[in-house]
Subunit: 319 residues, 2 copies
Protein backbone atom coordinates (compact mmCIF):
# COMPACT_ATOMS: atom_id res chain seq x y z
CA UNK A 1 0.00 0.00 0.00
CA UNK A 2 1.28 3.43 -0.93
CA UNK A 3 0.36 6.11 1.56
CA UNK A 4 0.99 9.82 1.11
CA UNK A 5 0.96 11.99 4.22
CA UNK A 6 1.03 15.79 4.35
CA UNK A 7 2.89 16.74 7.49
CA UNK A 8 3.77 19.73 9.58
CA UNK A 9 5.98 19.41 12.64
CA UNK A 10 5.30 17.72 15.95
CA UNK A 11 1.72 16.52 15.30
CA UNK A 12 2.59 15.20 11.87
CA UNK A 13 5.78 13.54 13.05
CA UNK A 14 4.11 11.77 15.97
CA UNK A 15 1.25 10.62 13.79
CA UNK A 16 3.74 9.22 11.29
CA UNK A 17 5.39 7.17 13.98
CA UNK A 18 1.99 5.66 14.74
CA UNK A 19 1.28 5.10 11.06
CA UNK A 20 4.60 3.35 10.55
CA UNK A 21 3.72 1.03 13.44
CA UNK A 22 0.17 0.47 12.14
CA UNK A 23 1.25 -0.20 8.57
CA UNK A 24 4.82 -1.51 8.71
CA UNK A 25 4.68 -2.84 5.16
CA UNK A 26 3.33 0.35 3.64
CA UNK A 27 5.35 2.55 1.34
CA UNK A 28 4.95 5.94 3.00
CA UNK A 29 5.79 9.24 1.32
CA UNK A 30 5.68 12.35 3.48
CA UNK A 31 5.18 15.74 1.89
CA UNK A 32 6.65 18.07 4.47
CA UNK A 33 5.80 21.68 5.10
CA UNK A 34 8.62 24.10 4.39
CA UNK A 35 6.60 27.28 4.93
CA UNK A 36 8.01 27.68 8.41
CA UNK A 37 11.59 27.46 7.17
CA UNK A 38 13.73 30.34 8.28
CA UNK A 39 17.21 31.69 7.62
CA UNK A 40 19.09 32.21 10.86
CA UNK A 41 22.73 33.26 11.13
CA UNK A 42 23.19 32.51 7.45
CA UNK A 43 21.84 29.01 7.87
CA UNK A 44 18.76 27.46 6.32
CA UNK A 45 16.60 25.95 9.04
CA UNK A 46 13.70 23.62 8.14
CA UNK A 47 11.97 22.96 11.46
CA UNK A 48 9.15 20.74 10.18
CA UNK A 49 11.29 18.54 7.95
CA UNK A 50 13.75 18.10 10.79
CA UNK A 51 11.06 17.30 13.33
CA UNK A 52 9.79 14.53 11.09
CA UNK A 53 13.31 13.29 10.38
CA UNK A 54 14.44 13.33 14.00
CA UNK A 55 11.19 11.84 15.33
CA UNK A 56 11.17 8.94 12.91
CA UNK A 57 14.94 8.56 13.07
CA UNK A 58 15.11 8.32 16.85
CA UNK A 59 16.93 11.59 17.44
CA UNK A 60 14.09 13.75 18.73
CA UNK A 61 13.82 15.31 22.16
CA UNK A 62 10.77 13.29 23.18
CA UNK A 63 9.59 15.63 25.88
CA UNK A 64 9.47 18.83 23.93
CA UNK A 65 8.69 17.19 20.61
CA UNK A 66 11.19 19.21 18.58
CA UNK A 67 14.96 19.47 18.56
CA UNK A 68 17.52 16.85 19.40
CA UNK A 69 17.80 14.56 22.40
CA UNK A 70 20.84 15.05 24.67
CA UNK A 71 21.15 18.59 23.37
CA UNK A 72 23.30 21.52 24.45
CA UNK A 73 22.95 25.17 23.49
CA UNK A 74 26.49 26.49 23.46
CA UNK A 75 26.48 27.88 19.92
CA UNK A 76 23.29 29.74 20.76
CA UNK A 77 24.72 31.03 24.06
CA UNK A 78 27.79 32.33 22.27
CA UNK A 79 25.81 33.98 19.49
CA UNK A 80 23.84 35.78 22.17
CA UNK A 81 27.05 36.74 23.97
CA UNK A 82 28.20 38.36 20.70
CA UNK A 83 24.93 40.30 20.67
CA UNK A 84 23.68 38.62 17.52
CA UNK A 85 19.91 38.53 16.96
CA UNK A 86 17.60 36.73 17.08
CA UNK A 87 18.01 35.08 20.47
CA UNK A 88 14.49 33.66 20.70
CA UNK A 89 14.93 30.69 18.39
CA UNK A 90 16.03 27.52 20.15
CA UNK A 91 18.84 26.19 17.98
CA UNK A 92 20.73 23.44 19.75
CA UNK A 93 24.30 22.39 19.05
CA UNK A 94 23.44 18.96 17.63
CA UNK A 95 20.63 20.46 15.59
CA UNK A 96 23.05 23.09 14.30
CA UNK A 97 25.05 20.46 12.41
CA UNK A 98 21.99 19.59 10.32
CA UNK A 99 21.57 23.22 9.28
CA UNK A 100 25.27 23.60 8.52
CA UNK A 101 25.19 20.62 6.17
CA UNK A 102 21.93 21.73 4.58
CA UNK A 103 23.24 25.24 4.01
CA UNK A 104 26.49 24.02 2.54
CA UNK A 105 24.70 21.63 0.17
CA UNK A 106 22.20 24.30 -0.91
CA UNK A 107 25.13 26.65 -1.51
CA UNK A 108 26.75 23.99 -3.67
CA UNK A 109 23.62 23.93 -5.80
CA UNK A 110 21.69 20.92 -4.54
CA UNK A 111 17.93 21.44 -4.28
CA UNK A 112 16.30 21.06 -0.86
CA UNK A 113 14.77 17.74 -1.90
CA UNK A 114 18.23 16.29 -2.59
CA UNK A 115 19.57 17.75 0.65
CA UNK A 116 16.68 16.22 2.60
CA UNK A 117 17.37 12.85 1.02
CA UNK A 118 21.04 13.13 1.97
CA UNK A 119 20.20 14.01 5.58
CA UNK A 120 17.71 11.15 5.74
CA UNK A 121 20.44 8.75 4.63
CA UNK A 122 21.70 9.08 8.18
CA UNK A 123 18.37 9.09 10.00
CA UNK A 124 16.63 6.35 8.03
CA UNK A 125 13.15 7.56 8.96
CA UNK A 126 11.46 4.61 7.28
CA UNK A 127 9.45 6.94 5.06
CA UNK A 128 10.35 8.92 1.97
CA UNK A 129 10.49 12.52 3.14
CA UNK A 130 9.97 15.16 0.46
CA UNK A 131 9.79 18.91 1.00
CA UNK A 132 6.60 20.32 -0.50
CA UNK A 133 8.75 22.43 -2.80
CA UNK A 134 12.38 23.17 -3.57
CA UNK A 135 11.47 26.85 -3.93
CA UNK A 136 11.58 29.36 -1.13
CA UNK A 137 8.23 29.75 0.61
CA UNK A 138 7.96 31.60 3.91
CA UNK A 139 4.78 31.89 5.87
CA UNK A 140 4.34 35.43 7.13
CA UNK A 141 1.78 36.60 9.64
CA UNK A 142 0.19 40.05 9.76
CA UNK A 143 -0.39 41.25 13.29
CA UNK A 144 -1.55 44.41 15.03
CA UNK A 145 1.36 46.67 15.86
CA UNK A 146 1.26 49.83 17.95
CA UNK A 147 -1.38 52.46 17.33
CA UNK A 148 -3.52 50.36 15.07
CA UNK A 149 -0.85 49.83 12.43
CA UNK A 150 -0.15 46.41 11.01
CA UNK A 151 3.14 44.62 11.02
CA UNK A 152 4.17 41.52 9.11
CA UNK A 153 6.44 39.02 10.84
CA UNK A 154 7.89 35.66 9.89
CA UNK A 155 5.78 32.77 11.14
CA UNK A 156 8.54 31.69 13.51
CA UNK A 157 8.65 35.15 15.05
CA UNK A 158 4.90 34.99 15.53
CA UNK A 159 4.94 31.47 16.88
CA UNK A 160 8.15 31.27 18.89
CA UNK A 161 8.97 34.83 19.87
CA UNK A 162 5.45 36.21 20.30
CA UNK A 163 3.95 32.81 21.24
CA UNK A 164 0.92 33.77 19.15
CA UNK A 165 -0.12 36.06 21.98
CA UNK A 166 -1.48 38.67 19.58
CA UNK A 167 -4.22 38.06 17.04
CA UNK A 168 -3.14 37.03 13.55
CA UNK A 169 -4.93 39.12 10.97
CA UNK A 170 -3.64 37.27 7.95
CA UNK A 171 -1.41 34.30 7.22
CA UNK A 172 0.36 34.36 3.88
CA UNK A 173 2.69 31.68 2.50
CA UNK A 174 4.91 34.18 0.69
CA UNK A 175 6.33 32.76 -2.50
CA UNK A 176 3.91 29.84 -2.62
CA UNK A 177 2.14 31.14 -5.71
CA UNK A 178 5.40 31.05 -7.65
CA UNK A 179 6.54 27.70 -6.27
CA UNK A 180 6.49 24.29 -7.88
CA UNK A 181 6.01 20.97 -6.11
CA UNK A 182 9.36 19.30 -5.37
CA UNK A 183 10.39 16.40 -7.61
CA UNK A 184 8.40 13.31 -6.68
CA UNK A 185 5.55 15.10 -4.94
CA UNK A 186 2.97 14.96 -7.72
CA UNK A 187 4.09 11.47 -8.73
CA UNK A 188 3.65 10.24 -5.15
CA UNK A 189 0.16 11.73 -4.97
CA UNK A 190 -0.93 10.35 -8.33
CA UNK A 191 0.23 6.83 -7.49
CA UNK A 192 -0.98 6.80 -3.87
CA UNK A 193 -3.55 4.33 -2.56
CA UNK A 194 -4.47 6.57 0.37
CA UNK A 195 -3.74 10.18 1.27
CA UNK A 196 -3.74 11.25 4.90
CA UNK A 197 -3.82 14.62 6.66
CA UNK A 198 -2.46 14.08 10.17
CA UNK A 199 -3.58 16.32 13.02
CA UNK A 200 -1.19 19.05 11.83
CA UNK A 201 -2.00 22.73 11.78
CA UNK A 202 -4.62 23.20 9.01
CA UNK A 203 -3.40 26.70 8.16
CA UNK A 204 0.36 27.03 8.54
CA UNK A 205 1.27 23.37 7.98
CA UNK A 206 -1.20 21.56 5.73
CA UNK A 207 -2.50 24.89 4.40
CA UNK A 208 1.00 25.89 3.30
CA UNK A 209 1.51 22.56 1.51
CA UNK A 210 -1.84 22.92 -0.26
CA UNK A 211 -0.83 26.45 -1.31
CA UNK A 212 1.85 25.09 -3.63
CA UNK A 213 0.16 25.21 -7.03
CA UNK A 214 -0.62 21.73 -8.25
CA UNK A 215 -0.67 19.88 -4.94
CA UNK A 216 -4.29 20.54 -3.98
CA UNK A 217 -5.42 19.74 -7.50
CA UNK A 218 -3.39 16.53 -7.63
CA UNK A 219 -4.90 15.36 -4.34
CA UNK A 220 -8.43 16.17 -5.46
CA UNK A 221 -7.89 14.36 -8.75
CA UNK A 222 -5.99 11.36 -7.39
CA UNK A 223 -9.19 9.33 -7.18
CA UNK A 224 -8.15 7.69 -3.91
CA UNK A 225 -9.48 8.18 -0.38
CA UNK A 226 -8.27 11.30 1.39
CA UNK A 227 -8.70 11.11 5.15
CA UNK A 228 -7.85 13.68 7.78
CA UNK A 229 -7.60 13.68 11.57
CA UNK A 230 -8.84 16.68 13.49
CA UNK A 231 -6.16 18.68 15.31
CA UNK A 232 -9.02 20.37 17.19
CA UNK A 233 -10.51 18.57 20.16
CA UNK A 234 -13.27 20.10 22.25
CA UNK A 235 -12.94 23.45 20.54
CA UNK A 236 -9.22 23.87 21.15
CA UNK A 237 -6.02 22.67 19.53
CA UNK A 238 -4.65 19.49 21.12
CA UNK A 239 -1.30 21.27 21.17
CA UNK A 240 0.05 24.48 19.74
CA UNK A 241 -1.93 27.58 18.96
CA UNK A 242 -3.82 26.62 15.82
CA UNK A 243 -6.85 28.62 17.01
CA UNK A 244 -4.90 31.83 16.45
CA UNK A 245 -4.21 31.15 12.82
CA UNK A 246 -7.60 29.56 12.15
CA UNK A 247 -9.19 32.85 13.20
CA UNK A 248 -7.01 34.65 10.66
CA UNK A 249 -8.51 32.61 7.85
CA UNK A 250 -12.03 32.91 9.21
CA UNK A 251 -12.39 29.34 10.42
CA UNK A 252 -13.89 28.48 13.78
CA UNK A 253 -11.82 26.39 16.14
CA UNK A 254 -13.97 23.29 15.92
CA UNK A 255 -13.37 19.89 14.42
CA UNK A 256 -16.32 20.37 12.05
CA UNK A 257 -15.20 23.79 10.87
CA UNK A 258 -11.74 22.50 9.98
CA UNK A 259 -13.29 19.66 7.95
CA UNK A 260 -15.48 22.19 6.14
CA UNK A 261 -12.40 24.35 5.55
CA UNK A 262 -10.71 21.50 3.70
CA UNK A 263 -14.03 20.73 2.04
CA UNK A 264 -15.62 17.69 0.46
CA UNK A 265 -13.80 18.45 -2.77
CA UNK A 266 -10.61 17.46 -1.02
CA UNK A 267 -11.58 15.27 1.95
CA UNK A 268 -13.35 11.91 1.78
CA UNK A 269 -13.10 11.12 5.47
CA UNK A 270 -12.54 12.93 8.74
CA UNK A 271 -11.83 11.67 12.20
CA UNK A 272 -12.92 13.68 15.22
CA UNK A 273 -12.20 12.93 18.85
CA UNK A 274 -14.77 10.95 20.81
CA UNK A 275 -15.70 14.04 22.80
CA UNK A 276 -16.64 15.75 19.52
CA UNK A 277 -19.07 13.00 18.48
CA UNK A 278 -21.80 15.56 18.02
CA UNK A 279 -19.82 17.01 15.12
CA UNK A 280 -20.09 13.82 13.10
CA UNK A 281 -23.53 14.61 11.69
CA UNK A 282 -22.45 18.11 10.61
CA UNK A 283 -19.37 16.80 8.85
CA UNK A 284 -21.31 14.04 7.11
CA UNK A 285 -23.95 16.54 6.06
CA UNK A 286 -21.15 18.37 4.29
CA UNK A 287 -20.42 15.22 2.30
CA UNK A 288 -17.45 13.96 4.29
CA UNK A 289 -17.51 10.54 6.02
CA UNK A 290 -16.84 11.06 9.68
CA UNK A 291 -16.10 8.91 12.72
CA UNK A 292 -15.50 9.83 16.34
CA UNK A 293 -12.52 7.95 17.78
CA UNK A 294 -9.86 8.72 20.40
CA UNK A 295 -7.49 11.28 18.86
CA UNK A 296 -4.98 11.92 21.64
CA UNK A 297 -1.48 10.75 20.72
CA UNK A 298 -0.64 9.80 24.29
CA UNK A 299 1.70 6.99 23.29
CA UNK A 300 2.71 4.94 20.29
CA UNK A 301 -0.14 2.45 20.74
CA UNK A 302 -2.79 5.16 20.89
CA UNK A 303 -1.24 6.86 17.86
CA UNK A 304 -1.02 3.62 15.88
CA UNK A 305 -4.68 3.02 16.64
CA UNK A 306 -5.51 6.47 15.25
CA UNK A 307 -3.64 5.56 12.08
CA UNK A 308 -5.56 2.29 11.82
CA UNK A 309 -8.84 4.18 12.20
CA UNK A 310 -7.80 6.56 9.44
CA UNK A 311 -6.88 3.69 7.13
CA UNK A 312 -10.13 1.89 7.96
CA UNK A 313 -12.14 5.01 7.15
CA UNK A 314 -10.22 5.27 3.88
CA UNK A 315 -11.16 1.69 2.96
CA UNK A 316 -14.77 2.46 3.82
CA UNK A 317 -14.65 5.52 1.56
CA UNK A 318 -13.09 3.49 -1.24
CA UNK A 319 -15.80 0.84 -1.12
CA UNK B 1 54.47 53.75 23.36
CA UNK B 2 53.12 52.18 20.21
CA UNK B 3 54.06 48.54 19.79
CA UNK B 4 53.37 46.44 16.72
CA UNK B 5 53.48 42.67 17.13
CA UNK B 6 53.34 40.10 14.35
CA UNK B 7 51.57 37.08 15.75
CA UNK B 8 50.71 33.51 14.90
CA UNK B 9 48.59 31.41 17.23
CA UNK B 10 49.41 30.00 20.64
CA UNK B 11 52.98 31.33 21.00
CA UNK B 12 52.03 34.78 19.78
CA UNK B 13 48.90 34.93 21.91
CA UNK B 14 50.67 33.91 25.11
CA UNK B 15 53.49 36.36 24.44
CA UNK B 16 50.94 39.12 23.94
CA UNK B 17 49.41 38.41 27.30
CA UNK B 18 52.84 38.89 28.83
CA UNK B 19 53.44 42.03 26.81
CA UNK B 20 50.14 43.51 27.92
CA UNK B 21 51.14 42.87 31.52
CA UNK B 22 54.65 44.26 30.99
CA UNK B 23 53.48 47.39 29.19
CA UNK B 24 49.93 48.09 30.37
CA UNK B 25 49.99 51.65 29.04
CA UNK B 26 51.26 50.73 25.60
CA UNK B 27 49.14 50.99 22.50
CA UNK B 28 49.53 47.50 21.01
CA UNK B 29 48.60 46.60 17.45
CA UNK B 30 48.71 42.93 16.52
CA UNK B 31 49.11 41.91 12.90
CA UNK B 32 47.68 38.41 12.89
CA UNK B 33 48.52 35.56 10.56
CA UNK B 34 45.64 34.48 8.35
CA UNK B 35 47.62 32.02 6.25
CA UNK B 36 46.32 29.11 8.26
CA UNK B 37 42.70 30.12 7.74
CA UNK B 38 40.55 27.36 6.38
CA UNK B 39 37.03 26.91 5.05
CA UNK B 40 35.24 24.11 6.84
CA UNK B 41 31.62 23.14 6.35
CA UNK B 42 31.05 26.41 4.50
CA UNK B 43 32.45 28.43 7.40
CA UNK B 44 35.50 30.67 7.42
CA UNK B 45 37.77 29.64 10.28
CA UNK B 46 40.67 31.88 11.34
CA UNK B 47 42.54 29.84 13.97
CA UNK B 48 45.33 32.31 14.71
CA UNK B 49 43.15 35.41 14.96
CA UNK B 50 40.79 33.52 17.24
CA UNK B 51 43.57 32.16 19.43
CA UNK B 52 44.82 35.71 20.00
CA UNK B 53 41.29 36.99 20.59
CA UNK B 54 40.27 34.22 22.97
CA UNK B 55 43.59 34.24 24.86
CA UNK B 56 43.58 37.97 25.45
CA UNK B 57 39.82 38.05 25.96
CA UNK B 58 39.79 35.34 28.64
CA UNK B 59 37.94 32.73 26.62
CA UNK B 60 40.78 30.39 25.76
CA UNK B 61 41.15 26.78 26.83
CA UNK B 62 44.26 27.38 28.91
CA UNK B 63 45.50 23.83 28.88
CA UNK B 64 45.49 23.19 25.18
CA UNK B 65 46.19 26.80 24.21
CA UNK B 66 43.58 26.96 21.44
CA UNK B 67 39.81 26.73 21.36
CA UNK B 68 37.33 27.81 23.97
CA UNK B 69 37.19 27.04 27.67
CA UNK B 70 34.22 24.98 28.88
CA UNK B 71 33.82 23.62 25.39
CA UNK B 72 31.67 20.83 23.97
CA UNK B 73 31.94 19.15 20.58
CA UNK B 74 28.37 18.26 19.68
CA UNK B 75 28.24 20.01 16.31
CA UNK B 76 31.43 18.20 15.35
CA UNK B 77 30.10 14.86 16.60
CA UNK B 78 26.95 15.29 14.55
CA UNK B 79 28.80 16.33 11.41
CA UNK B 80 30.84 13.16 11.76
CA UNK B 81 27.67 11.13 12.33
CA UNK B 82 26.38 12.49 9.01
CA UNK B 83 29.62 11.30 7.42
CA UNK B 84 30.78 14.80 6.55
CA UNK B 85 34.53 15.35 6.12
CA UNK B 86 36.87 16.46 7.48
CA UNK B 87 36.60 15.00 10.97
CA UNK B 88 40.15 15.82 12.07
CA UNK B 89 39.69 19.51 12.81
CA UNK B 90 38.69 20.26 16.40
CA UNK B 91 35.83 22.71 16.04
CA UNK B 92 34.05 23.17 19.35
CA UNK B 93 30.47 24.31 19.80
CA UNK B 94 31.33 27.66 21.41
CA UNK B 95 34.05 28.26 18.85
CA UNK B 96 31.55 27.46 16.11
CA UNK B 97 29.54 30.57 16.91
CA UNK B 98 32.54 32.77 16.09
CA UNK B 99 32.87 31.17 12.66
CA UNK B 100 29.16 31.43 12.00
CA UNK B 101 29.19 35.17 12.69
CA UNK B 102 32.38 35.70 10.70
CA UNK B 103 31.00 33.79 7.73
CA UNK B 104 27.74 35.65 7.81
CA UNK B 105 29.47 39.04 7.98
CA UNK B 106 31.88 38.13 5.17
CA UNK B 107 28.91 37.00 3.12
CA UNK B 108 27.26 40.34 3.75
CA UNK B 109 30.32 42.04 2.29
CA UNK B 110 32.34 43.09 5.33
CA UNK B 111 36.09 42.62 4.98
CA UNK B 112 37.83 40.32 7.45
CA UNK B 113 39.36 43.31 9.23
CA UNK B 114 35.91 44.73 9.97
CA UNK B 115 34.66 41.30 11.04
CA UNK B 116 37.63 40.88 13.37
CA UNK B 117 36.94 44.27 14.91
CA UNK B 118 33.30 43.32 15.43
CA UNK B 119 34.24 40.04 17.11
CA UNK B 120 36.78 41.83 19.30
CA UNK B 121 34.05 44.21 20.47
CA UNK B 122 32.91 41.30 22.59
CA UNK B 123 36.30 39.95 23.68
CA UNK B 124 38.00 43.27 24.38
CA UNK B 125 41.50 41.82 23.96
CA UNK B 126 43.17 45.07 25.03
CA UNK B 127 45.07 45.23 21.74
CA UNK B 128 44.06 46.25 18.26
CA UNK B 129 43.88 42.99 16.31
CA UNK B 130 44.29 43.28 12.55
CA UNK B 131 44.43 40.43 10.07
CA UNK B 132 47.56 40.68 7.92
CA UNK B 133 45.29 40.99 4.88
CA UNK B 134 41.62 41.02 3.94
CA UNK B 135 42.48 38.89 0.91
CA UNK B 136 42.43 35.14 0.85
CA UNK B 137 45.82 33.62 1.58
CA UNK B 138 46.17 29.92 2.36
CA UNK B 139 49.39 28.28 3.33
CA UNK B 140 49.82 25.02 1.48
CA UNK B 141 52.45 22.39 2.15
CA UNK B 142 53.99 20.06 -0.42
CA UNK B 143 54.67 16.61 0.97
CA UNK B 144 55.84 13.25 -0.34
CA UNK B 145 52.93 11.08 -1.40
CA UNK B 146 53.04 7.44 -2.42
CA UNK B 147 55.60 6.21 -4.92
CA UNK B 148 57.69 9.33 -4.89
CA UNK B 149 54.94 11.65 -6.11
CA UNK B 150 54.24 14.95 -4.43
CA UNK B 151 50.99 16.06 -2.95
CA UNK B 152 49.96 19.54 -1.82
CA UNK B 153 47.80 19.84 1.28
CA UNK B 154 46.36 22.72 3.25
CA UNK B 155 48.55 23.72 6.16
CA UNK B 156 45.89 22.59 8.62
CA UNK B 157 45.77 19.17 7.02
CA UNK B 158 49.54 18.96 7.33
CA UNK B 159 49.59 20.27 10.89
CA UNK B 160 46.46 18.83 12.46
CA UNK B 161 45.62 15.73 10.45
CA UNK B 162 49.13 14.56 9.58
CA UNK B 163 50.72 16.10 12.71
CA UNK B 164 53.67 17.10 10.50
CA UNK B 165 54.75 13.47 10.60
CA UNK B 166 55.99 13.59 7.02
CA UNK B 167 58.65 15.96 5.73
CA UNK B 168 57.48 19.22 4.24
CA UNK B 169 59.17 19.83 0.91
CA UNK B 170 57.80 23.31 0.37
CA UNK B 171 55.58 25.77 2.20
CA UNK B 172 53.71 28.23 0.03
CA UNK B 173 51.38 30.99 1.23
CA UNK B 174 49.07 30.68 -1.78
CA UNK B 175 47.58 34.00 -2.76
CA UNK B 176 50.02 36.05 -0.72
CA UNK B 177 51.68 37.54 -3.78
CA UNK B 178 48.37 39.03 -4.88
CA UNK B 179 47.31 40.17 -1.42
CA UNK B 180 47.35 43.64 0.09
CA UNK B 181 47.94 44.48 3.74
CA UNK B 182 44.66 44.97 5.58
CA UNK B 183 43.60 48.55 6.35
CA UNK B 184 45.66 49.91 9.22
CA UNK B 185 48.54 47.47 8.91
CA UNK B 186 51.03 49.68 7.10
CA UNK B 187 49.94 52.72 9.12
CA UNK B 188 50.51 50.85 12.38
CA UNK B 189 53.97 49.78 11.26
CA UNK B 190 54.98 53.23 10.06
CA UNK B 191 53.91 54.90 13.31
CA UNK B 192 55.22 52.20 15.66
CA UNK B 193 57.88 52.88 18.30
CA UNK B 194 58.84 49.22 18.50
CA UNK B 195 58.09 46.15 16.40
CA UNK B 196 58.19 42.69 17.99
CA UNK B 197 58.26 39.17 16.59
CA UNK B 198 57.03 36.86 19.36
CA UNK B 199 58.19 33.25 19.49
CA UNK B 200 55.74 32.32 16.74
CA UNK B 201 56.48 29.95 13.89
CA UNK B 202 59.00 31.75 11.63
CA UNK B 203 57.71 30.09 8.48
CA UNK B 204 53.98 29.53 8.61
CA UNK B 205 53.09 32.35 11.03
CA UNK B 206 55.51 35.28 10.82
CA UNK B 207 56.71 34.10 7.42
CA UNK B 208 53.17 34.23 6.05
CA UNK B 209 52.68 37.76 7.39
CA UNK B 210 55.95 38.90 5.84
CA UNK B 211 54.86 37.36 2.53
CA UNK B 212 52.11 39.95 2.13
CA UNK B 213 53.71 42.46 -0.25
CA UNK B 214 54.52 45.69 1.54
CA UNK B 215 54.68 44.41 5.12
CA UNK B 216 58.31 43.29 5.15
CA UNK B 217 59.36 46.49 3.39
CA UNK B 218 57.36 48.67 5.79
CA UNK B 219 59.01 46.99 8.79
CA UNK B 220 62.49 47.33 7.32
CA UNK B 221 61.86 50.99 6.56
CA UNK B 222 60.05 51.93 9.76
CA UNK B 223 63.30 53.14 11.33
CA UNK B 224 62.39 51.75 14.75
CA UNK B 225 63.82 48.78 16.64
CA UNK B 226 62.60 45.37 15.50
CA UNK B 227 63.17 42.68 18.11
CA UNK B 228 62.33 38.99 17.91
CA UNK B 229 62.21 36.14 20.41
CA UNK B 230 63.45 32.74 19.35
CA UNK B 231 60.82 30.01 19.13
CA UNK B 232 63.70 27.52 19.00
CA UNK B 233 65.29 26.49 22.26
CA UNK B 234 68.10 23.95 22.40
CA UNK B 235 67.68 23.02 18.76
CA UNK B 236 63.98 22.24 18.97
CA UNK B 237 60.74 24.19 18.89
CA UNK B 238 59.46 25.07 22.37
CA UNK B 239 56.10 23.82 21.18
CA UNK B 240 54.65 22.77 17.85
CA UNK B 241 56.56 21.37 14.94
CA UNK B 242 58.40 24.39 13.55
CA UNK B 243 61.41 22.22 12.74
CA UNK B 244 59.40 20.49 10.00
CA UNK B 245 58.61 23.68 8.15
CA UNK B 246 62.01 25.28 8.80
CA UNK B 247 63.59 22.34 6.98
CA UNK B 248 61.29 23.03 4.02
CA UNK B 249 62.73 26.53 3.65
CA UNK B 250 66.30 25.34 4.22
CA UNK B 251 66.73 26.78 7.69
CA UNK B 252 68.35 24.82 10.50
CA UNK B 253 66.37 24.39 13.69
CA UNK B 254 68.56 26.62 15.82
CA UNK B 255 67.98 29.98 17.42
CA UNK B 256 70.84 31.48 15.41
CA UNK B 257 69.63 30.11 12.09
CA UNK B 258 66.18 31.58 12.58
CA UNK B 259 67.71 35.00 13.34
CA UNK B 260 69.80 34.74 10.19
CA UNK B 261 66.65 33.71 8.27
CA UNK B 262 64.95 36.97 9.25
CA UNK B 263 68.25 38.76 8.64
CA UNK B 264 69.84 41.96 9.85
CA UNK B 265 67.92 43.88 7.20
CA UNK B 266 64.79 43.17 9.21
CA UNK B 267 65.87 42.39 12.78
CA UNK B 268 67.70 44.74 15.13
CA UNK B 269 67.56 42.49 18.16
CA UNK B 270 67.08 38.80 18.95
CA UNK B 271 66.50 37.02 22.21
CA UNK B 272 67.65 33.45 22.64
CA UNK B 273 67.04 31.19 25.61
CA UNK B 274 69.69 31.03 28.31
CA UNK B 275 70.61 27.50 27.26
CA UNK B 276 71.45 28.88 23.79
CA UNK B 277 73.88 31.49 25.12
CA UNK B 278 76.57 30.17 22.80
CA UNK B 279 74.47 31.38 19.85
CA UNK B 280 74.75 35.03 20.94
CA UNK B 281 78.12 35.59 19.31
CA UNK B 282 76.96 34.09 15.99
CA UNK B 283 73.85 36.25 15.90
CA UNK B 284 75.76 39.40 16.79
CA UNK B 285 78.34 38.55 14.13
CA UNK B 286 75.45 38.67 11.68
CA UNK B 287 74.72 42.24 12.75
CA UNK B 288 71.83 41.55 15.11
CA UNK B 289 72.00 42.48 18.82
CA UNK B 290 71.44 39.36 20.85
CA UNK B 291 70.81 38.49 24.49
CA UNK B 292 70.29 35.15 26.19
CA UNK B 293 67.41 35.26 28.67
CA UNK B 294 64.80 32.75 29.88
CA UNK B 295 62.35 32.20 27.01
CA UNK B 296 59.92 29.66 28.42
CA UNK B 297 56.41 31.09 28.81
CA UNK B 298 55.70 28.99 31.89
CA UNK B 299 53.37 31.56 33.41
CA UNK B 300 52.31 35.16 33.04
CA UNK B 301 55.19 36.50 35.13
CA UNK B 302 57.81 34.64 33.10
CA UNK B 303 56.16 35.80 29.88
CA UNK B 304 55.93 39.42 31.03
CA UNK B 305 59.62 39.27 31.87
CA UNK B 306 60.35 38.07 28.32
CA UNK B 307 58.40 41.04 26.98
CA UNK B 308 60.36 43.39 29.23
CA UNK B 309 63.61 41.91 27.95
CA UNK B 310 62.46 42.41 24.37
CA UNK B 311 61.51 46.03 25.04
CA UNK B 312 64.82 46.61 26.85
CA UNK B 313 66.76 45.21 23.90
CA UNK B 314 64.74 47.49 21.62
CA UNK B 315 65.70 50.52 23.70
CA UNK B 316 69.32 49.42 23.57
CA UNK B 317 69.09 49.12 19.79
CA UNK B 318 67.47 52.55 19.53
CA UNK B 319 70.21 54.23 21.55
Amino acid sequence: MRIVVLAGGIGGARFLRGLRAAAPEADITVIGNTGDDIHLFGLKVCPDLDTVMYTLGGGINEEQGWGRADETFHVKEELAAYGVEPTWFGLGDRDFATHVIRTQMLGAGYPLSAVTEALCARWKPGVRLLPMTDDRVETHVAIQAEEGTRKVVHFQEYWVKLRAAVAAEAVVPVGADQSKPAPGVLEAISTADVILFPPSNPVVSIGAILAVPGIREAIAEAGVPVVGLSPIVGGAPVRGMADKVLAAVGVETTAAAVAAHYGSGLLDGWLVHTSDADAVADVEAAGIRCRAVPLLMADLDATAQMAREALALAEEARA
